[in-house]
Structure formats: structure tokens, C-alpha cells
Symmetry: C2
Subunit: 176 residues, 2 copies
């Protein structure tokens, strides 16, 4: 099966469920034989999903491209991280050209813009290269208005209540 038309989806907002919604979308798509490339930004430390998705490698490819250490250090991203993002963008362009994937997920791309790993204009340029039949899904807080404008579907994950605010730390298997 192929998608007749691929859309542009965005999951943004301060609530839980953005990356997991994108992963769940890949799982659903795989059930219909669709293939997904997941490119994760700012997640060099492997999250639980990586190991599981590697078992589904016939349908889902997941790759990490850059870290987020500089955020804790409160510095601008170093050149080494910027280079990794450039490499990721080349990978995505190549996936757009070669047509082996039906869905392409850019996990945490919106946060990457916010933390100056990449400019909004470069992401928009990339989006414009998306072929008709590929579904492009972007996740992360702080999605810029320019991207919301060109997206077809935008969901804001809004935090109504969160246990973080009660002092619960991120838990393995749930948050990472």
C-alpha cells in the first residue's frame, strides 16, 4: 500500500504525548505495510522506543542525530552538533528522493529550532522538498508560527495536570 497523498502533521505544546503519538502513528502505519523513517533530534541518549522499534526494522527505521548537552550548559549549540543536524537534513532529503519511506518523522525538530540547532527557514525549505505521497510528522514544543501555517494538521498537547509539578522525576520506561 502507498498513501495517495501525504500531509504535514505537527504535534506541539507543553503536554506529554508528542513523540509517543508520532511513534504510535508509525506503529499504526506499519500494520498497513507503510514504512517510516524516524529521525530524532536532541535525543542522543537512546530512549526506550529505539530498542523496541529496532525489532520492527522491516517497517520502521529510527536514527539519532544530535545531543542536547549544550542546553544544560546554557550555551549555544557547538559546531559539532550543528554538523550532526546538517547530516540529518541530508539523510531526510535523500529519504524524500529515494521513496523507500511513506512516513518521515522529525522528532523534536521544533525544540531544535527553539535551541538554535537549525533555522526555521531551513526546516521550511526541507518541508518544501517533501514529495506528494510522503506523510511528514514533526514534533516538539515551541513550533514556530510559520510552520504551523504550512502544516495540514496541528495538535497542541496541552498540559492540564502533570506529576512533574508534584516533584516526580522522569521515569525510565515512561518518560525516556
Amino acid at each position: 500500500m502507498k498513501l495517495e497523498k501525504g500531509f504535514i502533521q505537527v504535534y506541539t505544546g507543553n503536554g506529554k504525548g508528542k513523540s509517543t503519538a508520532a511513534i504510535g502513528q508509525a506503529i499504526r502505519a506499519a500494520g498497513h505495510g507503510l514504512r517510516t523513517l524516524i529521525v530524532q533530534f536532541m535525543k542522543e541518549y537512546p530512549y526506550g522506543e529505539v530498542e523496541t522499534l529496532n525489532k520492527l526494522s522491516e517497517f520502521i527505521t529510527i536514527e539519532q542525530y544530535c545531543g542536547d548537552d549544550f542546553v544544560l550548559k546554557k550555551t549555544l549549540p557547538p559546531q559539532s552538533e550543528l554538523d550532526k543536524v546538517k547530516k540529518a537534513f541530508k539523510r531526510i532529503e535523500s529519504a524524500f528522493q529515494h521513496g523507500e519511506y511513506d512516513l518521515v518523522i522529525l522528532d523534536e525538530i521544533c525544540v531544535s529550532i527553539y535551541f538554535k540547532l537549525v533555522e526555521t527557514s531551513a526546516v521550511i525549505e526541507l518541508i518544501q522538498k517533501k514529495p506528494e505521497h510522503i506523510e511528514l510528522i514533526m514534533t516538539g514544543r515551541y513550533c514556530p508560527q510559520e510552520i504551523i501555517e504550512i502544516a495540514d494538521l496541528v495538535t497542541e498537547m496541552k498540559e492540564v495536570k502533570h506529576y512533574y509539578s508534584e516533584g516526580v522525576l522522569a521515569r525510565k520506561g515512561i518518560e525516556s
Copy 2:
């Protein structure tokens, strides 16, 4: 690995990404060896995720318990559907007791309350039986305030923009 403490999560709202976020959560948890039971309500017709998740049966069990035909017919749920929901609740209680799962997902349980397949009070009674170490995740539009109050984490998936409103129909691999 076991969860030290399991919380109660709710994904509600009119936006896309509620069920997929719950599925993605199960995928992430599986990467850390946690086991998930997904009980789907009002989804008798198998969604794409079922086939994919069946390949991960070591960690994830997914079961469907009732249909949604009566919604289209604009009638109250027939006894046959109510019976299926009762069966589902027994299954969930048993999963709570036996401790073979670390996460339990009640997919579309909130919509099931809205369409009178089950009363809010019965769901609250079930929630109260959740053992300490199990994470309970509930999805679906129209989550009643009483459940929001006892949940630890509530995310509202808010529709900012949706291609449905431009006449795009549900697509296999994306919406089902």
C-alpha cells in the same frame, strides 16, 4: 525492571494523537522490558496498530472488546455491547490482580463513558483497584471531570488545525 510507582495518565481532547500516544508509550516501555496490556473499546474493526503490536507479543498484548455500530445508528448501546464491556472490565481487574503487566491502557474508555457503554462510577471503581506499581493510561474525548480529578497526568490534545475540516476522509495507515 518494574515501575516503582505507577501513575494514572489521561489523554483527552478533540485533537489527533490520543490513542497513538498511548501506543507509543507502550513501545517506549517495552524497550525497558515493561509489559503492557492494551484494552481497546469501540474499535472492533482492527486498526493498523493491532497487526504490528502482535509482533511484539512478548511485551504488548492488545485486545478489542466492543464495537461502535450503535453510534452510527444513533441508538443507546445494545445489551450485547454492554456485556462485552463487562467482560473487558473483568479482564482488566484480573490483570490488576495477577501482576503480569506494568502498564494497562484503556483505549477510548472516555468515549465509551460518553456513549453510555459504561458509567463513570464503574470506571472510578476500576481505577481504585489499580495496584501501586501499575501505570494506568486512559484515552478518548470527553473525559469526565471526576476522572480528571483523580488522574495524576492529564494531557488535552487540542485541535489547532485538522485536514478533516478540509474534507479529507480518514486514511488507512494514518487514522485507522
